[in-house]
């Protein structure tokens, strides 16, 4: 049993059952802030890059940031950081909802290490931390687990848990909180499962003070005004949610169809934002403290839940050649219950469909067969039959059948819902992402498609590297606060720095704030280099480099990656092999890590 203090770390060793409390030193807070930054620092310091991610030696960190749970807009997030079983890279995923603010109200970040002999869950409340047996919920889905654990603990508590997929260490397993919010990517649910950790349940009552109350409120007011002025945060996301992107991205010719074989989905009208409102939408919802409120509660085939979001609409829609909105919703609900990442699950099923179409796979799985798709989701979550192979992710699946080129992934992480051939900067962001194929490390769709903060010619490769680097750095820095990435459609670096400074009482200029992100990025890179990654992995599937799209508004294009990659390494201050130079690490104050 432990008493909670201020913003401290709870270290929970599942092997010994020992719980200790630690301070975070000021230098670390200043350099890495919280959230992703703090988690990456801890994993870098404490986890051997060569470790098996599903072994007892891996660790998993749950971290909040200085703005979590404050009046700052869209600040209801927490981050999960570990070494990923899917990619083998250092990995962070973050999630909205209400778990993050409750963890903040508890006053702790959490490090989980070791492995419990039997299934357990952590019950942390007002200074007390208990490890409780989880046999009553082992095997249960995330909804049942949440309900049962709230019954066993406190109705006011919040739950982050895994479903059967995490328990069975499926590499696509995620962490689910508030029943339908997910720290989705990278298989971090499997890391919890490997430790026999079913859930973390928290209930805290600590206020989240800020250093300079009046200046903080003033800054928040200004940020709210900016969010309320921006058409994306004020209108598009609020009214249509993320599904509003379907039509736009499809018309841009970068909506991947049938495992990225095409960039224009003829049946997009069946899954677009308007159809979504008409067919399955029930009402919107917002995460903690969010003025945007992009969340959608839906109902289909007698079942209800959160989402599907844009990425999921694509993963179980165009990616699998499916245009039945209700079936996409079913697959989405199933993923939430089983605890699966919808992007990687849908994308890997799409990969299996192409393998099958080309005759490389004897398992008959056809594009457009939504019944089989939903069934495969179930089997994947329960690790049954062919679902076992889907659960390994597209890279391992395609390699197993002798055609790695069919896997649409970077560093083992399935690519999301934007074909890189029509957005050169976004392609570079995919290739150089530290956690693999991800749209959130640097959302170049902002400038290249949405014109935010300024429009860039999406087909031009030259000159993009510096902007990709800037967005990567700033995104990493925002992930330390932690604010929802959607705020960056409206807010700029100076506003983030101002929120941070007034909340913590430590002055950060915009440039210092960006540098925090650059520091994190380089530390992640160092970890990955030691784990065996390098320039060879900063690439894209050959399809994007050699085969132009045949139709749609991005036809005739391929990614000019080599040209951009050289510019990128130079902009980063890395060697041609993609290694951070000693002087850069010194400038960032992490020279001690270059061992």
């Amino acid at each position: 049993m432990n008493k909670s203090g201020g913003a401290r770390i709870l270290r929970i060793n599942l092997s010994s059952g020992k719980v200790t409390e630690e301070e975070v030193d000021q230098d670390t807070r200043r350099k890495f802030i919280g959230g992703r930054g703090l988690g990456v620092k801890i994993v870098f310091d404490e986890v051997d890059p060569g470790v098996d991610p599903l072994s007892e030696s891996n660790k998993i960190v749950f971290a909040v940031g200085p703005l979590t749970g404050t009046a700052a807009p869209s600040s209801g997030r927490y981050a999960v950081i570990s070494k990923s079983p899917l990619t083998g890279t250092i990995f962070d995923a973050n999630s909205g909802g209400f778990f993050g603010p409750m963890l903040k109200a508890l006053g702790h970040d959490v490090i989980i290490e070791g492995r419990s002999g039997d299934p357990v869950y952590v019950w942390a409340h007002d200074g007390d931390v208990e490890l409780r047996g989880a046999s009553s919920v082992w095997g249960k889905d995330t909804h049942e687990t949440t309900e049962k654990l709230l019954e066993e603990t406190d109705r006011r508590a919040k739950v982050a848990c895994i479903g059967p997929a995490g328990e069975k260490q499926v590499k696509l397993a995620c962490v689910i909180n508030d029943e339908h919010r997910a720290a989705g990517r990278g298989g971090l649910g499997a890391v919890m499962g490997s430790k026999n950790l079913k859930a973390i349940v928290v209930s805290g009552h600590k206020k989240t003070p800020v250093a300079n109350e009046s200046k903080f409120r003033e800054t928040v007011k200004r940020c709210l005004m900016t969010l309320d002025k921006n058409p994306i945060t004020k209108d598009s996301l609020k009214i249509f949610g993320t599904p509003s992107l379907v039509s736009l991205i499809n018309e841009t010719g970068i909506f991947p169809v049938r495992n990225f074989q095409r960039g224009y989905f003829e049946d997009a009208d069946g899954i677009c934002g308007e159809k979504y409102l008409e067919r399955i939408f029930v009402k919107p919802y917002a995460c903690f403290g969010c003025p945007i409120g992009c969340g959608r509660l839906t109902r289909a085939n007698g079942e209800g839940g959160g989402g599907p979001e844009y990425e999921t609409l694509w993963a179980f829609g165009a990616q699998c050649g499916v245009s039945k909105l209700e079936d996409i919703a079913r697959a989405n609900y199933l993923c939430n219950r089983l605890g699966l990442d919808t992007i990687s699950t849908g994308s890997t099923i799409g990969c299996a469909m192409e393998l099958s179409e080309k005759g490389y796979l004897t398992e008959g799985i056809e594009f457009g067969d939504s019944e089989k798709m939903v069934e495969l989701v179930r089997k994947t979550g329960l690790r049954e039959g062919f679902g076992k192979e889907i659960g390994e992710g597209s890279k391992r699946l395609a390699e197993r059948y002798g055609h790695p080129e069919v896997a649409m992934q970077v560093k083992g992480l399935e690519l999301p819902a934007y074909d890189p051939r029509g957005v050169q900067g976004h392609a570079l962001a995919y290739a150089t992402s530290n956690r693999g194929g991800c749209h959130l490390r640097a959302y170049m769709i902002g400038p290249e498609v949405l014109g935010v903060p300024a429009p860039l010619d999406r087909f031009r490769a030259g000159g993009k590297a510096k902007i990709v680097k800037l967005l990567q750095d700033v995104s990493a820095a925002v992930d330390t606060l932690i604010l929802c990435r959607f705020t960056s459609f409206a807010l700029n670096i100076e506003e983030y720095a101002s929120l941070l400074s007034t909340a913590t009482g430590i002055d950060y200029s915009a440039e210092e704030f960006r540098k925090v992100g650059e520091r994190i990025w380089n530390l992640e890179r160092l970890f990955n280099l030691r784990a065996g990654f390098g320039r060879k992995d900063d690439t894209l599937p050959p399809r994007f480099l050699k085969t132009p799209l045949k139709e749609g508004n991005s036809r005739g294009r391929v990614v000019e990656l080599e040209k951009m990659l050289g510019e990128y390494y130079e902009a980063r201050g890395w060697t041609e092999e993609g290694k951070p130079r000693a002087e850069l690490l010194e400038e960032l104050g992490i020279e001690g890590y270059a061992r």
Binding site: N230, V452, A454, R460, G462, L470, V474, L491
Partner: protein, 289 residues
């Protein structure tokens, strides 16, 4: 007019050389709301934003002049009222009356619309007198004259600028925002060349981000009319952290690409489309992009 097209990449490159602080940029902006349906709360918000960002003025329809003047009393933000807006087809007397009333209610600047129909008739005396009527009624306050360049050829734009200058106005402005084109590099450049360095050029219409604003300044504008002032200023904070001014292909910045058969006179539409025939950058003109 090949040289006009060739100017687009030159101006695009010149954009990189513009050194302007956020405060200076804000002072070039007429923060604009010329909607037929935005209610009082919306106009109040416009004024609050203008105060917060220290814009040069708020640009509003006549019925909001008094309200905005009261909201902005004691600040450095001016009120800019439109006259003969948006078609410019009222009489010189009516425009003069509107002007006097706006000045009386607190306007410091007037944006009036040139009578394009009379200009097309080559009745240049009428056009000149029409502008003069407003200038005289303004009693020394700043008068900007909107040419609505989407109805004019390049040659006509240059001619119209000279008439406006002769009439004693202070600025030429390209667009109401309701016409066929917003602000384009060739139009603003031509306007600057026609009026010379000691006269105002206001660029308006479709200026939605700092890149657009910097382009217009590079082309010769010293005032920006936009309803996206807040977005421009917020996005400009990103500008200093990287090089965002990657060159755009010329066609995307060219009025010929934007010419629309449904919104402009047929002869003017054809005039702009014909520019593409001999344009040195015609290979970039791929419409699906």
């Amino acid at each position: 007019m090949t040289s006009i097209m060739e100017s687009i990449p030159k101006i695009e490159r010149r954009t990189k050389e513009i050194k302007i602080s956020p405060e200076e940029l804000a002072k070039t902006i007429d923060h604009t709301k010329l909607s037929p349906y935005k209610p009082t709360g919306s106009m109040k918000k416009l004024c609050e934003e203008a105060k917060a960002y220290h814009f040069h003025s708020v640009c509003v329809n006549p019925c909001w002049t008094r309200f905005c003047a009261n909201e902005l009393k004691g600040t450095d933000v001016k009120v800019d009222t439109v006259v003969g807006f948006p078609l410019g087809q009222t009489t010189p007397e009516e425009k003069a009356f509107e002007t006097k009333q706006a000045i009386g209610e607190g306007a410091s600047e007037i944006d009036t619309v040139m009578n394009v129909a009379k200009f097309k008739d080559k009745d240049y005396d009428f056009v000149r007198d029409d502008v003069k009527a407003v200038v005289e009624a303004a009693g020394g306050k700043t008068v900007k004259v909107i040419l609505e360049t989407g109805y004019l050829t390049y040659e006509e734009i240059s001619g119209a600028c000279k008439i406006v200058k002769e009439a004693g106005a202070d600025f030429v402005k390209n667009s109401t925002g309701f016409g066929p084109f917003g602000a384009t590099i060739p139009h603003i450049l031509l306007m600057r060349e026609a009026v010379g360095g000691d006269f105002g050029v206001k660029a308006a219409g479709g200026i939605n981000n700092f890149r657009d604003a910097l382009r217009m300044i590079a082309a010769g504008a010293n005032r920006i009319g936009t309803s996206a002032g807040v977005k421009i200023m917020d996005s400009y904070r990103w500008a200093r952290h990287s090089d965002w001014l990657i060159e755009e292909i010329p066609c995307r910045l060219c009025p010929s690409r934007k010419a629309s058969f449904t919104s402009m006179p047929k002869s003017v539409f054809q005039y702009y489309k014909m520019q593409c025939v001999n344009c040195p950058y015609r290979e970039y003109n791929r419409f699906y992009e």
